[in-house]
Amino acid sequence: MNVAVLLKQTPDTESVIRIASDGKSVVTDDLKWVVNPYDEFAVEAALRLKEKHGGSVTVISCGPQRVVESIRTALAMGADTGVLIDDPALEGSDSLGVAMALAAAVKEINPDVVLCGSRAVDYDMAQRGPMVAELLGWPHLAMAVSMESDGKTVTIDRPIEGGKVVLESSLPAVVTFGGSHAVWNPRYASLPGIMKAKKKPLAVKKLADLGVDGSQAGTARVTMTSLEMPVARAAGKVIDGGLDTAGKATELVRALHEEAKVI
C-alpha cells in the first residue's frame, strides 16, 4: 500500500511569535521550525499502514530549503522518500495555490491514500486536505482520531458532540487527522533512523517539473490583511482607599455599574 503524507513545517508551538513590521506576517529569523504536530499524527498513521500492508510512505511538502529538515525528521521516523516543492512562485500564494502544487505531486506518485493533518498549528486554515481531495477528485474523510484500512477501503472514527461517527470510503481517498498527541502517540525518530534518513531519496522540484502553472498557483485569491496578538489583559483593580467594608461595597457596586457596566 503506497501512502503519501502531506507535511507542513510550522514554528514550534513553544516559539515566541512576533508580528513583523508589515503587520501581516511573523518574524521568522530565529524561529525554531518543527513538523506540524497534526501532520506528525499523519506520518504515524502512514507508518502503521505500511507496517500492516507493506508498500512505501512518501512525504510531500512545500516551502524553502529549511523544510528539508522536517522531511528528514519524517524519514527518520520511518518514511521512505521525500518530495520538496521549492518554488519562489509559491511565496505569495494561498492555500489553493499550495494545494494545486501538492495535488500535482500526489498525482505523480499515484498513492493509494493521502494523509495529512486536519489543520496546521500556524494559521489554522484547515484547507489543504479538502482542497487536495477536490483537485484529485477523491473522497475526503476529515478529522480522524483512528483509522483502519483493508487495502481497498479506509475507515475512520471522528468524535462528534456526545459521541463518535464512523466513516468509510473506497480508496483512493484523502484522510485528515485530528486528535491529540496522546491519541496518536507518534513514534520518536531513532538514531539509526536519523542516520538512514540522510541517505533516503529526497527530490526537490519546481512547479514546472510538476506541470503546474506558476502564475496560477502563485496567485493568491485570499490574502492576509492583518495579524494581531491577543489583547493584553488589563491589570485588576483593588478597591481599598482606606474605606470600611460598607464603603468598599458601595465603591464596588459603583465600579461594576459605571466602569465595567456589568450591573
Binding site: E14, V16, D30, T73, A189, S190, L191, I194, M195, A235
Partner: protein, 601 residues
Amino acid sequence: MASKFAGRRNLDFLLYEVHDIEGLFSLSYFEDHSRQTCDLAIDTAMKLARNLLYPYFKEMDEREPVFEEGQVKVHPIVKTMMKQWGEGGWLSSSLPFEVGGQQLPVAVHMACSHLFGAANFPATGYSGLTTGAAHLILSHGTDEMKDMYIPKMLAGLWQGTMAMTEPQAGSSLSDLASRATPTGRGYYKIRGQKIFISAGDHDGVENVVHMMLAKIDGGPPGVKGISLFLVPKKRPEADGTLEPNDVTATTVYHKLGYRGCPITQLSFGDGDSCRGYLVGEPHRGLSYMFQMMNEARLGVGMQAASIASAAYYASLEYAAQRLQGRKLSSKDPSLPQVPIIEHPDIRRMLFFQRAITEGSLSLLLQCALYADLARAGDVRDRERYELLLDLLTPVAKSYPSENGILSVSQGLQILGGYGYCREFPLEQYYRDIRIHAIHEGTTGIQGMDLLGRKVMMKSGRALEFFAGEVQKAIGEAEAFEELKPYCTRLQEALEKCRAATMHRLTFAMKGQMEIFLADATLYLELFGILAVAWQWLLQAVAASKGLRDDCSDRNKNFYKGKLHTMKYYFHYEVVKIQGLAARLLESDALMVEMDNSLFDD
C-alpha cells in the same frame, strides 16, 4: 512544573558557536555526521525529554522504589523509558558503528543527556550506567561476553551497573573484601557484599549485569590485587534461558533525593554458586574500571548542571510572574507591586544560577570535545587532548556538583516559602542534586586526584597545556575592546592558580604529603572557578562575534545576556579566587598538626 527545563538556544550556542563541533565532521571518524544529523538527534532528545521524561519527574520521586519479597520494584514507566532509549539507539549513541552504535560525537551525546537529565535526572541513572557498563565490556571483555550481553544491554532490556563500593571500602578501594576463587571451568566463584549500587536490581529490566571489582584468591594486596568481573544477576544459558546466579538484593536505601532510581545493597554468593567472568587480565581491574568511572564522572557533572538548569528556569519563570514589593526608588503603596525579577537581589540570584549552569555546561562540552579529539583528531595532538581531559575530569565532575547545590539553593530562595514546599519543584531539585558531590568519587577525592595526580602527571604537562588553552582564549578575547578588562582578570586568576600550585608542590617535594593535600579541596575549588572563567571568556568571544555579525533582535538579546552573565561571573565569582589563593599560599598545617582531642567539649 515550569514550562522550560533546558535552553535549546544555549545548547546550539555552546556546541556550534563556542566549541565549533562542526569541525569534527571533517574528521574521518565522524564523516557520516553533519549538523543536520546532530540537530535531528538533539531535537529528538528534546522530544523524549519533554514527552516521556519530564511528565514523570515528580511522580517517580513520590513513588520511590520499594523492596518487596526480595525484589526491588520501581515505577512502571522505567521499563518504557529503557525500551525507548534502547530502541532509539540512545544507549549506544556514541559507540562505534561496528558494534551497533551511531558514532555520535561525545559532545552531542552529552548534549542529549543534558536534556534527559534536566527533564528527569533520576531516570538517567538507569541509562547512564547501562551505557557505561556496555562500553566497559566492549573495551575489555571477551567476544563471548560481547555477544551474550551487549545486545540486550543496548536494547534497554538488561541493566548495567558499576559494583565497587563495600561496607568497609568506599573511597578506599584498596580495602575491598569481595573474593573471586578460580574454578578452572571458565568462571570464578564470587563472594562478597556491595553497597550503594545504583540501579543494582529492579523490575524494569529482565536482567542486571554487574561490573564488579573483587580480589582473586592469593593475589597481591591493595589496589594491585583488584580484578574486574562480569557478574550477571541471571546467567544466560546456551538455550537462551536465564538461570539465577546467586546474586541477592538485600535492601534499597531510603535517600534524600534521586528517589526515582533505586540504590541497592547486594549480596553475591550466599549460596556459594555465584559465577563471575573475568574481564581483561587479572589484577588490572581498577585501571579498566577507571574508564567507566571517568565517563561516569563527566556524566555526574552533566547531570548536576542539568538539574541546576531546570531549577534556574523554574525560578526564572516564577520571578517574572510573582508580584511582590515595589522598586526602592518608588515606594508609593498605591502603585501596583512589581514582579520580583525587578529587584536587584533576585537578579543576582538568577545570574548566579545562570553563570553556574551555563559555565558548567560549557566546561563539560569542552571536555566532551577533548574526548572526541583524543579519539579522532590529529594523531600528533591526541596525547594533548587526553591530558587535558584527564586534568579537567575532576574539575568538570565537582564544579557543577558543588556549585549546583548552591545554585539550586538560590533558585529555591527565589520562591521563598513556596520553594520549601513540595507543590513546587525546587525542593526536589535541591534534594536530587545533593548526591552528585558524593557519588563517583566525593569532592574530597576529586581534589586529591587533581592536585595529587593530575597536576603532577607527566611532569606537569597537563597543567601547561591547560594554561596554554586559557592563554589562547585571552588572545582571542583581546580583539574585542569590551572584553579586555576580563582578559586581565583571567590572566590574574591564572597566575594565582600557578602560584598556589607551586606553593603546594613545595610540600610534596619535601615529602610532606599530608600538608600537600590537606587543602586539595580548596585547590579544586580555585581551579574550578578558573576553568569556568575561561569558559565564560570563550562564550563572551562567541557572543561578541555574534553581535558583530548581523543578527536579529532576539539573537542580540541572547548575546547581550551572555556578555552580562560573563561580567557577573568575573565580578562576583572570580574574585573568590583571591581568598582561596591567600589560603593556599599559607604554610601552616592547621588540619594536619593537631590532635583529635581538640574536638572534645
